[in-house]
């Protein structure tokens, strides 16, 4: 979901009757508030919790009524059965693992209306349970976060939060990681996030970068991979806030020859040593991937090597796997540029995770932000 600045949120009921971005963010906020309202065993405790975290004037704008706390976990299976009998068999669908299994928005609006008219712990948990099937990822993650303390089925909620940490949407990732840290601080996914955030320190204690883009053939002057370019901006804002954004970014000639790539690999080796950036995750496009593989053979350590539409020329270009963490390849079907290059269309090495998108011919699709944002392709989850 693109960044949306909400200046005038709708009231809770109105939010659940709308499907625009502002309304969806408000729905997520309402669910998190419900989870918070259910905390505490006494009214005094509840008041203390709410005063600390939720200013009453904000709650008044959203028109969220007070709610008595819940004593313990509720039986989520019973909640599902009750929802199924009320709304029909469609609600018995499995918990979504992607963006594809969702319920009609009218169901959420009706459950929100129930709760806001006569707020009870049951009406709140009905809404939370239902919103796990919401079409918007941020609402699903918010529902899982809010419901985690009250549901008898925590494992499935943890899965939704873990999936949220891989979202293309920075806000979803942050929300999911924060919630996961609260309910399951030892979760392995959090360790992964911590590792990737703290690996390579930049030179002289300045900004810390752990990822960088490397362009491909003829793309030295292209804007997409440079600061302010569309793909650079997308990766920086939505995927990797630690993406290299310094002035001394690495670039190579973009030439189409073994000599040009060898020279580029030497330059990358010099660059990472000069700026103390060994161990970066590299997002490479086309023969930028060949260059990175060559560089690993020359001594460059790479965290994760992401090969976007990389022509396969093994064994001429293959990574030194002892210097590379993981290798992920993402490509389209029958790439016309790779056809012209006479390279292979697929890696067949067991240490390279190959992902083929249901897109044909277009070599540039893999650095197109709208392709990355398309939830049907699940590209961020491939990394």
């Amino acid at each position: 979901m693109p960044t949306t600045e909400v200046t005038e949120p709708p009231a809770a009921q109105e939010a659940f009757e709308r499907t625009d971005r502002t309304a969806v963010l408000t729905q997520a906020a309402v669910l998190l508030i419900l989870g918070l309202q259910l905390r505490g065993n006494t009214t005094a405790q509840l008041k203390e919790v709410l005063q600390d975290t939720l200013p009453t004037d904000d709650l008044a704008v959203l028109r969220i009524p007070p709610l008595s706390p819940l004593g313990g976990r509720i039986n989520s299976q019973s909640v599902r059965i009750s929802l199924a009998s009320r709304f029909g068999t469609s609600v018995a669908a499995p918990i979504p693992e992607g963006d594809d299994v969702t319920w009609r928005s009218e169901i959420f609006a009706e459950l929100a209306r129930d709760h806001l008219r006569q707020p009870t712990a049951n009406s709140a948990t009905n809404l939370m349970e239902a919103c796990l099937r919401h079409s918007h990822e941020i609402v699903r993650v918010a529902a899982a976060a809010a419901y985690h303390d009250w549901s008898s089925e925590r494992t499935r909620l943890t899965l939704i939060l873990e999936q949220g940490t891989r979202s293309a949407d920075l806000l979803v990732r942050q929300l999911a990681a924060t919630a996961l840290a609260q309910v399951y601080p030892d979760n392995a996914r959090l360790s992964d996030l911590t590792r990737s955030a703290g690996r390579a320190a930049g030179a002289s204690g300045a900004a810390s970068y752990t990822a960088m883009l490397v362009h491909g053939t003829w793309a030295l002057g292209a804007s997409w991979w440079q600061m302010g370019g569309d793909f650079h901006s997308y990766v920086l804002q939505e995927l990797r806030p630690d993406l290299y954004s310094g002035e001394k970014r690495f670039a190579w000639s973009g030439g189409y020859s073994d000599a040009a790539r060898a020279l580029g690999a030497d330059d990358l080796f010099t660059w990472v040593n000069t700026y103390h950036e060994q161990g970066l995750d590299l997002f490479t496009h086309s023969h930028g991937g060949s260059l990175a593989m060559l560089a690993s053979n020359k001594g460059v350590k790479i965290g994760k090597l992401v090969l976007l539409s990389c022509p396969v020329h093994m064994p001429k270009y293959q990574p030194d796997f002892s210097r590379v963490g993981t290798v992920v390849s993402i490509r389209v079907r029958l790439d016309l540029v790779i056809l012209a290059d006479r390279g292979g269309q697929k890696f067949r090495h067991s240490s390279i995770r190959e992902n083929v998108l249901p897109i044909w011919f277009d070599h540039t699709a893999t650095h197109n932000p709208s392709v990355w944002k398309n939830s049907t392709y699940h590209i961020p989850a491939m990394l």
Partner: protein
């Protein structure tokens, strides 16, 4: 529609290159050189690959483009890739070009040429 158009353009490049390389007729190479200035990155890349693969056959066309100052950054890089040393001094002249993209491409082309010696 645009999506389909670039695919047709790419197919045209494949065909045109095959005929150009078979007949060695210079005018058949011009559309491929012209495609270096395409707004579509796929077409630019495919054209560039075909021109480098054509090697010496492409040199006169590249030099023609260089003299006309057409698609300078990419033409300079390709001249480095094909190893056309006849224009080395001319490329050197571009290394101080006012357009930083052209200057950078010229410097890189000179490095590639030097490495190919």
């Amino acid at each position: 529609m645009l999506y389909k158009m670039w695919i047709l353009g790419a197919i045209g490049l494949f065909l045109c290159t095959a005929v150009w390389r078979a007949t060695r007729l210079r005018f058949l190479g011009r559309p491929i050189i012209k495609a270096l200035g395409s707004r579509n990155e796929n077409l630019r890349t495919i054209a560039g690959i075909f021109i480098v693969r054509a090697g010496r056959l492409a040199e006169p066309l590249l030099e023609e483009s260089l003299h006309k100052r057409e698609n300078l950054p990419i033409v300079l890089t390709i001249l480095g890739d094909v190893g056309d040393k006849r224009v080395e001094s001319e490329i050197r002249g571009f290394s101080g070009h006012e357009d930083p993209k052209v200057a950078e491409a010229a410097r890189q082309a000179l490095r590639i040429l030097a490495m190919q010696r």
